[in-house]
């Protein structure tokens, strides 16, 4: 359930009392409601589900954990190299 994908906020504005923005997903752009992520600004990445941003991607958290994973991968290779 819950198909949601990360995209980058291109711009944001208030329309009819909602905070709405254009979000870019790998080359296409779509409008998304940003009311649930008041702290997210253009340039930030958000996770979007059915046209609503439900979280702002914690880029620092992502960078740290991924760096750890990628590094673990390299170390593994050394371990298992013939």
């Amino acid at each position: 359930m819950c198909l949601a994908i990360p995209g980058q906020i291109v711009d944001a504005e208030e329309i009819d009392g909602n905070r709405v923005g254009r979000v870019r997903f790998g080359g296409i752009t779509r409008q998304a409601f940003l009311d649930f992520v008041p702290e997210a600004q253009p340039g930030d990445y958000v996770i979007v589900h059915v046209g609503f941003a439900i979280s702002k991607v914690d880029e620092e958290e992502a960078r740290q954990t991924y760096a750890y994973l990628a590094q673990a991968g390299l170390l593994d290779e050394e371990e298992f190299a013939p």
Binding site: M1, C2, L3, I5, G7, R22, R24, F25, G26, G27, I28, T29, R30, V48, H49, V50
Partner: protein
């Protein structure tokens, strides 16, 4: 406390899915039309029928266009119809000769719309060098149509010795694809009410007879087993049909399949698989291994085949199934879809 959901299997009405080019369409053919019309030419179920008449081998094909919206980035229902019918002839190894165009118009359709479509069709036919020589027009009551439906029929002459058919794929053959998949379907979806999104994607609608001519010239007779244009139902439906009719397996390599970033983005957002998205300017060819590189080179030398790739191979394993080696090195099935792909929330 634990109860089972209820089955449903009644199908006494035509559903939209019956027109989508996938399993339901195949069912309709099998259960309604083939029993009624049965004859050898039809039963081969290629994109076109080849009939012998007066010493020539004629290719004959027909197609109806019901696309909405009528106008979309990269084309319109008119140019789509011209290209589509030319392509159905070309993939059978036929040189297209001429086309017909029959219109079903809804009362109240703006004349300007009709004029624009007709102009576009004429221009497409002229650019392709294939004239529209006859046609018909009918008007139906307001509310009975979607504004404008077009049926096009095409006649071509099959080159001597050429015999292309979906039942000729053999283990060891290579699967060649002429370029990016999913462009047309995504260009259409981007306009659809309820889904709208911004994209620069254009439909890839194009006449392929020039590209296909170059491919045939690059290999001896029999080197290319069959060709198809993967329209509704996408690359998956086309390859499943070939695998089924030839009784072989087809193994694809995910990393070899070219997909534009925008198409990927749209598919990720809507939960769609690009393998099932329609194309209108692509050709898939099953080629004898010995000639695969030569045909590939010929494709890449042509403007419509610049991004051509070898995307898979025919195998004797898993006959009738299309499988794919994923980016992670595992294997999955590329199934034939039941009806149209639906955007999902899950």
């Amino acid at each position: 406390m634990f109860i089972c959901p209820l089955p449903i299997n009644r199908r006494d009405k035509v559903l939209l899915g019956h027109g989508s080019g996938g399993k339901l369409s195949a069912e309709l053919l099998r259960d309604v039309f083939l029993p009624a019309f049965s004859n050898p030419a039809l039963c081969r179920m290629d994109d076109q029928a080849i009939v012998e008449a007066a010493g020539a081998r004629l290719a004959f094909t027909t197609d109806s266009y019901v696309v909405k919206p009528l106008f979309f980035p990269g084309g319109d229902i008119g140019s789509l119809a011209v290209h589509g019918t030319i392509n159905d002839l070309a993939v059978g190894g036929a040189d297209p000769v001429c086309l017909s165009a029959a219109f079903i118009l809804e009362e109240g359709l703006p004349m300007e719309t009709l004029r624009a479509v007709a102009q576009s069709m004429g221009a497409a036919a002229q650019r392709a060098g294939i004239p529209i020589v006859t046609g018909d027009t009918k008007v139906v009551d307001k509310g009975s149509g979607d504004g404008l439906f077009i049926n096009t029929t095409g006649i071509g002459i099959v080159r001597p010795g050429i015999s292309l058919s979906a039942n000729q794929a053999r283990p060891g053959d290579r699967v060649l694809l002429s370029g990016y998949i999913g462009d047309h379907g995504i260009a259409i979806l981007a306009q659809r009410e309820g889904l709208e999104f911004e994209t620069r994607i254009q439909s890839d609608s194009a006449p392929l007879h020039g590209l296909i001519g170059a491919m045939l010239a690059a290999s001896p007779v029999g080197g290319i087993r069959c060709m198809r244009d993967p329209t509704r139902g996408g690359l998956s439906s086309t390859l499943n049909e070939i695998a089924g009719q030839s009784g072989v397996g087809i193994a694809l390599q995910e990393s070899s399949i070219p997909i534009r970033e925008e198409v990927r983005g749209a598919c990720e957002m809507l939960g769609l698989d690009p393998l099932y998205v329609a194309n209108e300017g692509k050709v898939v060819a099953i080629v004898d291994l010995a000639f695969a590189e030569a045909v590939l080179a010929a494709m890449r030398a042509h403007p419509l085949g610049a991004e051509a790739r070898i995307v898979g191979a025919v195998t004797d394993r898993n006959p009738g199934l299309v499988t794919m080696r994923t980016a992670l090195g595992t294997t999955r099935i590329v199934d034939m879809l039941a009806g149209d792909q639906l955007p999902r929330i899950c």
